[in-house]
């Protein structure tokens, strides 16, 4: 399974589209959003850094599912079924791949924050933000994998992009939730992306993640995890 993880991580990092849109885009958007306009405060630079790192991680996590759908369509998953590798190892290997490939985007945006935008945090805070965002991205990997097993390659691409943009915007990864109208703000607090960013923000504010944050995120993880298992079980015998 470790071999599979290495193979898949390598394949992902060689994907130009992944590097540009999964890593470059969040960094670019972060720098744009925090350097255009005149009332940009240090607080927004930090909050947006976490939001964009989360956005990058979200895109990378979902991308794992796009890869699954692609491998399904070219018959590679079927080919794996006739090697001694167990089907379960394939899906677990993919989930682990998702956990690895979210790191570059997180690290790149945090670097941009520290180096370019002068965000100042204690070392332990930097590490904690990175680790929390890394762990918190896992539900989205499961969502991507669920889509990948369930849908065709083309549909998966479209659905993943829709999930990515929709959840990023509504979750407040791009713009502060404070700017939202009241109803959208209350909706936002139930989205997994909002709580995902909340995990990182709490670390920058030297606070422990709130109970609500962990609970909402845990619930979404359960939902996405069940979806992934269901999709996988349904299609594993037919890939």
């Amino acid at each position: 399974m470790f071999d599979y993880l290495v193979l898949e991580v390598r394949r992902t990092l060689r994907d130009t589209g992944f590097v540009i849109f999964g890593i470059g885009m969040p960094v670019l958007m972060y720098l744009l959003f925090t350097n255009i306009g005149d009332d940009v405060g240090g607080r927004w630079r930090t909050a947006s850094m976490v939001g964009m790192a989360a956005y990058g991680a979200l895109g990378s996590a979902l991308n794992t599912g796009t890869g699954v759908a692609e491998d399904k369509s070219i018959g590679w998953l079927r080919q794996l079924r006739i090697t001694p590798m167990r089907p379960r190892s394939v899906v677990i290997g993919r989930a682990l791949t998702g956990s690895v490939v979210v790191l570059p985007a997180i690290v790149a945006v945090l670097l941009a924050g520290g180096v370019v935008n002068g965000v100042r945090l204690a070392v332990w805070q930097w590490v904690l933000v990175a680790v929390l965002l890394w762990l918190g991205a896992f539900p989205f990997t499961l969502l991507g994998i669920g889509n990948g097993y369930r849908l065709t390659a083309q549909t998966t691409g479209v659905v993943n992009v829709a999930c990515n943009l929709g959840m990023s915007i509504v979750g407040g990864l791009w713009f502060p939730v404070d700017l939202f109208p009241g109803w959208l703000r209350s909706l936002s607090s139930y989205t997994p992306t909002n709580r995902f960013a909340e995990l990182g923000v709490s670390a920058t504010e030297k606070a422990a993640p709130g109970f609500g944050t962990v609970a909402v995120l845990g619930l979404w993880m359960l939902v996405f995890g069940s979806y992934a298992v269901f999709s996988y079980r349904r299609s594993a015998r037919t890939v």
Binding site: R10, I74, G75, W76, R81, I82, P84
Partner: protein, 367 residues
């Protein structure tokens, strides 16, 4: 060459045959894709599964590899469930629909697959056997069709499995690539491995397999060497110019099994061509007379029903002399004749009579 550990592992399973189907059935809705197949392949054999498109070859292979389960009957590989045999690393396969894996080099891909098997051959050896040593550093998704196919072959064999299954391995390859591919396949078979490949090219089955299993409508209709199949289909082909004469009575000439008219030429399939020719001479019908031995093609056409003739069967398989189906296996004679309409069948009763001829029985016995 070498005794491989894959084979050693197989030996450990006792003397069970490499492949064994018994009464295997797989249906999709109303279609019986595999319709009661009994087949045994002993270790070390190279077997061709020959049939038209849609005859049931790929479904049979899916059952064989444990990718699909039979609705009835059983399939065993080395005496165990296909899935277990696959997990034990006894099987390698090249599937029909695979497209190249993206963003990996050939070496990375083959190395990865090798590491999944308990006792693989060295990667360099697999690349060499497949004839792709010089492509090792290239990206697998940036190769020609023939090169891609050989990469897939390397993926199938690098685990050094005791059984290798190739589903239409040369479809879409040009002549040169095909030749190179078969050279690789034979090199692998010589190592004492069991090889099963499916094809709809008769020449390939004849040239590269010890044994040909003909499958049609999900059933095995013949099983033997190329020569045996030719013999089973029986008879020679006697043809001559009609020169404006009618065809009355031709079907009743001695030895004639079936009559067909092509343009102004009559084609008689005969189990006793000498007698047929003498009788023709007596009628004075000898212009452009030709007697040819039954080819594997004729045998194949005789063994399989012709109702699928228009669905993409390679032109070579149906172009020449098709004395149609003396060995009509099924009572579905009506379906059969309707479909053969374009062949301008003369004297339909001859076909019915032919179905009872010994040649047809012989063909059936080989099943």
């Amino acid at each position: 060459m070498t005794t491989t550990s894959g084979t050693a592992a197989a030996t450990a399973q006792g003397a069970a045959p490499a492949v064994s189907f018994s009464g295997a059935v797989r249906t999709f809705g109303a279609v019986r894709a595999v319709d009661g197949v009994d087949l045994e392949i002993t270790r070390g054999e190279t077997v061709a599964l020959l049939g038209r498109n849609g005859a049931g070859k790929s479904t049979a292979i899916s059952l064989l590899l444990g990718l699909d389960d039979p609705d009835a009957g059983t399939v065993r590989l080395f005496g165990q469930e296909p899935e277990r045999a696959v997990q034990a690393g006894l099987v390698g396969a090249m599937l029909q629909e695979g497209r190249p894996v993206r963003r990996v080099t050939v070496r990375e891909l083959v190395t990865f697959v090798a590491r999944q098997y308990p006792a693989p051959m060295p990667v360099a050896e697999a690349l060499e056997l497949a004839g792709i040593t010089e492509l090792a550093g290239r990206r697998a998704d940036r190769l020609s069709g023939g090169q891609t196919q050989r990469v897939r072959f390397a993926v199938a064999l690098v685990g050094d499995p005791a059984l290798i299954v190739l589903d239409e391995p040369t479809a879409a390859l040009d002549v040169e690539a095909r030749r190179a591919f078969w050279a690789s396949m034979r090199a692998y078979a010589r190592r004492g491995h069991t090889v099963l490949f499916s094809t709809h090219y008769l020449e390939e089955a004849d040239a590269h397999a010890d044994r040909i299993v003909v499958i049609d409508h999900g059933r095995i209709v013949a099983d033997g060497s190329g020569d045996e199949l030719k013999r089973a289909a029986g008879g020679n082909l006697v043809s001559f110019d009609l020169a404006g004469h009618g065809t009355e009575g031709l079907a009743r000439l001695p030895g004639v099994l079936a009559v067909e008219v092509r343009g102004d030429r009559a084609l008689l399939r005969s189990e006793d061509s000498d007698a047929t020719v003498i009788a023709l001479a007596e009628r004075g019908a000898i212009r452009g007379l030709e007697v040819t031995a039954a080819s594997l093609e004729t045998a194949f056409l005789a063994l399989t029903s012709s109702d699928a003739a228009s669905d993409g069967t390679p032109a070579g398989a149906r172009a020449p002399a098709a004395p149609h189906s003396a060995a009509a296996r099924r009572p579905a004679a009506a379906e059969h004749q309707a479909a053969a309409g374009d062949r301008c069948t003369e004297d339909p009763p001859a076909v019915d009579r032919a179905a009872e001829e010994p040649a047809a029985d012989a063909a059936r016995e080989t099943v």
